[in-house]
Amino acid sequence: MKNKTGVVVGLLLMVLLWILLFPKTLEGFLGQFFASKFPEGGRTPLRILFMEHMEMVLISSFLAIFLGFFLGLFLTTSWGKPFKGSLMKLVSLGQTFPTAAILALVIPVVGYGLKGAIFALFLYALMPIVYNVVVGIEEVSEDVVEAAKGMGMTELDIYRKVKIPLAMNTILGGIRTSTVINISAATLAAAAGAGGLGVLVVNGVRTFDMILILMGSIPVTLMAILTELSIGMLEKKRIYTQ
């Protein structure tokens, strides 16, 4: 099963790379079904847009993972306990906001363009990670923690050697969800002045140009699927209980 997914990932990766390196082939292929409204050239190359998109996603996700991880851990400790209830509620509340709303609220305050988008995406990506870290750590069997404590492990040891490794599956799940959503959300950021593949989609919608829309959507979808599958593979490796 793992090997099957690995093969699929490899294939999709190759397709994605091909599209990025030789966008004209895809365009040509699509051009057989739809009429193109734009002359070739005079458009930002796909590669550049892809890079912009990746930049937004990578920066916001890394920040979210890093900060979210530690924030989540903090909430599970005795110091963080007073804040846990409120912050978890806040996180759940935040997740009911549609992506567009978060973008639309944060960006005008922080600033249009790349910086604002990254900040907004970071905030949105933070939530699933904090949530999953807290839930994952709290799900670790009490008996195991009891045994570890009884053996004389310090609190830090218990986290490092027992709680975090056992919560990893759930945490990775949170990272997976957060990043995949981030990739999709970044397409919207184009509507707020950031770059990325969303630019193609937005322009395509405005001009009814199917090719533009697809040229923007296909790489993004491929990216999302790739991320979903690859992190999913990491998760599968780590199942310890029957």
Binding site: F34, P82, F83, G85, S86, K89, L90, L93, T96, F97, P98, T99, A100, A101, L103, A104, L105, I107, P108, V109, V180, I183, S184, A185, T187, L188, A191, A192, G198, V201, V202, G204, V205, F208, M210, I213, L214, G216, S217, V220, T221, A224, I225, E228
Partner: protein, 334 residues
């Protein structure tokens, strides 16, 4: 200034309100304080506002932060106090009534958000209606389609992959893209007389409904699958042994046991769709998204809020009521 002071006060109360009495106290005190603050600000604003119709009084970030704190505080208090919950709910209801009354008496007229609201009053309610319609209709369609799909995926193991995988892939397509992809085919479809009569075209409600329906397929379908799979096989076996027919087993055993999980899927889909319907604003489908994107383009947070707040409130209400319904069903099923 006062806002910061208030903010600190509430923050202090938040971290301190842990015993039952304190929680009750702060849970009641905070919203009352907040409403009072609102009233005072509105008085001042009215004074400003009367000096000219172009003057706007907006809420600062701190104010919204304050609102958030109050929300958390009340939520926290509701958790802690187990016996006097009725009291707190009563107080909240009272405050709500007072607030609505003040609203009616145009106490808050001077706030910029109210001005926007007044300006676009009709459009607001129309958008609200459209938004609800889009969301509910799409989820309904989604349920009609996804439940049979989920059941098929459950009863025939081989088909499970064939059903679930395309749905999962759908989910990873960015919403904007899906809307966009549907544009051209739908506009072509809209050129056929039957569909044109319905109002199908590349823009408008059609791509929104189709896209939202497609998105809701996964949560509903997956939860249907999980719901039926979670029915204990030994229970089904016992029923067979008693001589129940396939249909009876389905109707009396499997379905009732699977419904809570299925409804959870519907709940998730509904929350997702209420949010996703915002994008309809980009393709001319109406809905509260129009306000959001208008606000984004004009740089007016008030417009954005006008669009977002109803969504959040509706989401919270629907989410909570569905959760309650599901809990009730679960308990009856024991």
């Amino acid at each position: 200034m006062m806002i910061f002071v208030m903010g600190f006060l509430l923050l202090a109360m938040l971290s301190v309100g842990f015993t039952k009495k304190k929680a009750l106290f702060s849970g009641v005190f905070a919203p009352v304080l907040f409403l009072f603050l609102l009233y005072r600000i509105s008085e001042k604003a009215l004074v400003f506002g009367s000096q000219g119709s172009a003057i706007r009084v907006s809420f600062s970030l701190g104010f919204y932060g304050l609102l958030l704190m109050v929300y958390l505080l009340v939520g926290h208090a509701l958790e802690k106090i187990t016996r006097h919950q009725g009291l707190l709910y009563g107080v909240l209801l009272l405050l709500l009534l007072v607030g609505l009354f003040l609203l009616y008496r145009e106490q808050f007229e001077a706030f910029s958000i109210m001005k926007e609201f007044q300006n676009k009053r009709e459009q607001f309610f129309a958008s609200l209606q459209t938004h609800l319609f889009l969301a509910l209709f799409s989820v309904m369609l989604g349920t009609l389609l996804a439940v049979p799909l989920g059941y098929v995926a459950h009863s025939k193991k081989q088909l499970e992959g064939a059903v679930m995988v395309p749905l999962s892939i759908l989910e990873t397509i960015p919403s904007l893209s899906l809307f966009g992809i549907l544009l051209v085919p739908l506009s072509r479809l809209g050129q056929l007389p039957f569909f044109r009569a319905l109002g199908v075209s590349g823009i408008g409600w059609a791509p929104a409904v189709v896209a939202l329906t497609l998105y809701s397929l996964l949560p509903i379908g997956r939860n249907t699958l999980v719901g039926f799979s979670s029915v204990d096989k030994s229970v089904v076996e016992a029923a067979e042994g008693m001589g129940m027919s396939r249909r009876q087993i389905f109707g009396k055993i499997e379905l009732p046991l699977a419904i809570p999980i299925m409804l959870t899927g519907v709940r998730i889909a509904l929350v997702q769709t209420l949010g996703g319907a915002v994008l309809a604003g980009l393709v001319g489908g109406g809905g509260l998204g129009t306000f959001v994107f208008l606000g984004l383009a004009e740089g007016s947070p008030d417009l954005v809020l006008l669009g977002v707040m109803p969504i959040v409130i509706m989401t919270l209400l629907l989410d909570a009521s569905l959760k309650g319904l599901i809990e009730k069903l679960r308990r009856n099923g024991r």
